[in-house]
């Protein structure tokens, strides 16, 4: 079994339901995110459109975070998920520096690394990840990549040619796919970041926003 994720960006409407479901399910602290939806506006008025891109851990087959972790806190489980043992983590932040997708953060409450685990605890109980359940348009498709009859495998076959991963040049072989993605949605360097459009960018509590 090799579990994977696919997001159909044609369907995603940016409701952030997946974000909230993830926050609630995994008790993700304020100022940190396992899953987030990024909005990028494209074009010049009146020819504009808004794109929505859910971003989470890619559960790479060749995961740099697993390789760099000095204590195996980040590790593979048999279904292909890159899981994290927070009791073992020493908080060196090597994984944050290694992850090309910015998917890992330091949990301000435990001072250890944390990230999306594809809701491994729910999968162990034969349930779908919280974000999949919450999505009102079924833009999140989850399943076994090694099973040709699974929804995700069928989706990939049907949309052959329009299935992409983020930063393929990094050689990480992500198990997280996008349909309908483009340079703007998948490449962080293809869009401007203007101040004032970030949620919780000016946290005034004493909880650190990564780093020290």
């Amino acid at each position: 079994m090799k579990l994977g994720f696919l997001v159909d960006l044609h369907l995603c409407m940016g409701c952030k339901g997946c974000e909230i479901a993830c926050k609630v399910e995994n008790e993700v602290p304020l100022s940190t995110w396992r899953l987030r939806v990024k909005y990028v506006d494209v074009g010049t008025f009146p020819e504009t459109k808004r794109t929505f891109t859910p971003l989470r851990c890619n559960h790479c087959e060749n995961a740099p975070c697993v390789r760099i972790c000095p204590v195996s806190a980040l590790h593979y489980i048999e279904n292909g998920i890159v899981n994290i043992d927070k009791e073992r983590c020493i908080g060196c932040a090597g994984c944050i520096m290694a992850c090309p997708y910015g998917a890992i953060y330091i949990d301000p409450e435990t001072q250890t690394a944390d990230k999306c685990t594809y809701c491994a605890h729910r999968i162990a109980s034969s349930m779908m990840p919280a974000c999949v359940v919450a999505c009102p348009v079924e833009a999140n498709i989850f399943g076994d990549l090694e099973d040709p009859t699974s929804n995700i495998s069928k989706y990939i076959m049907q949309h052959n040619g329009d299935v992409q991963v983020r930063k393929p040049e990094k050689g990480t072989n992500p198990h997280h796919y996008y349909v309908g993605g483009g340079n703007v949605t998948l490449n962080p360097l293809a869009s401007h970041r203007v101040e004032g459009h970030s949620l919780f960018s000016k946290i005034t509590s004493k909880m650190p926003l990564g780093g020290h």
């Binding site: 074009g43 073992r88 360097l189 401007h192």
Partner: protein, 302 residues
């Protein structure tokens, strides 16, 4: 393809979360800087004992002590940078050997043990023959201890500018630069080295400075041709970027001025200015390392 160029798409992030920013702060800069000195002085002691055994004999214990101090500074700041420093022991009891952090921690530990053995042999037992035999192995071990940070940085897949092979060379050059500078400074107090020995150290300092400077310039010019991420990161040290001033202050202080001062000292046979060259090289090296540590962390990853 309308999505391929920034200007054509006019793409703007209009809603996102705050990005984490700098994760490895100045503590890591001190870590790298102190380790360069800790291993660099060992390289210099090995060289001096081979070429100038009589005058270098006085430096066996002092250099060992300096190396112990700076390696412990390196270890202290490594520990201080951890979010869970009291779990450090996990590296030894649940190690993961694909990680350069693990391999580095084990090698640094062995290095410290050998340094204390050197201190014992030079200060307590006063056995120079045994010291020199152990020093050979300490010097050999100092090479991977110096290089492991480059391996760690190359494992940071997200940070493209650290993936350059020159990073390993920069680590060695930082060690030879800071090692020679430190020994030159030590000699201002001990005054045991001959003019020839000091000239050798100053040439090592100057060559290290020149080679490191050339490599940084090559990365600045040719790096952006390698990947768009490198080009974006180099933007922080060029074209009015956030770290441009600090980058050039570092290059001038660590490399250009010390190189010129060494040349002047050799031409004028005046070794007093070597002290200034050594101080500037050490201070500038911290700035250079800090800039190189910070800039790739400014880039949004997602």
């Amino acid at each position: 393809m309308v999505h391929e160029t920034l200007a054509a798409t006019n793409a703007v992030v209009t809603l996102d979360v705050g990005l984490p920013g700098v994760v490895w702060p100045w503590l890591v800069t001190v870590n790298m800087w102190a380790k360069s000195i800790g291993t660099g002085v060992i390289f210099m002691l090995f060289y001096l004992l081979k070429k100038y055994p009589n005058e270098a004999a006085n430096y066996r214990f002092p250099i060992t002590v300096v190396s112990i101090i700076f390696i412990h500074l390196f270890l202290l700041f490594t520990l201080a940078d951890l979010h869970q420093p009291f779990r450090m022991w996990h590296i030894f009891f649940t190690p993961h050997f694909t990680s350069a952090i693990t391999v580095g921690a084990w090698m640094a530990t062995a290095f410290v043990v050998l340094l204390f053995l050197l201190a014992f042999l030079s200060f307590i037992k006063k056995d120079d023959t045994a010291f020199d035999k152990v020093l050979l192995w300490v010097t050999v071990l100092a090479i991977p201890v110096t290089l492991y940070t480059a391996a760690l940085m190359s494992q940071c897949t997200a940070r493209e500018i650290w993936q350059m092979p020159t990073e390993s060379a920069q680590m060695i050059l930082a060690a030879t630069l800071s090692g020679s500078a430190t020994v030159l400074l030590m000699d201002t107090f001990m005054n045991k080295l001959s003019t020839e020995a000091k000239r050798d150290l100053s040439i090592i300092l100057a060559f290290s400075a020149l080679a490191a400077f050339v490599m940084y310039m090559a990365e600045l010019v040719f790096g952006p041709m390698k990947a768009e991420e490198v080009a974006a990161v180099m933007g922080y040290i060029s074209n009015g970027g956030e770290y441009q001033a600090m980058f050039w202050i570092g290059q001038v202080t660590a490399y250009i001025v010390p190189f010129v001062l060494v040349v002047l000292s050799i031409v004028n046979k005046n070794q007093n200015i070597l002290k200034l060259a050594a101080i500037l090289a050490l201070a500038g090296l911290w700035i250079v390392k800090h800039v190189w540590l910070m800039i790739p962390q400014l880039l949004p990853m997602s």
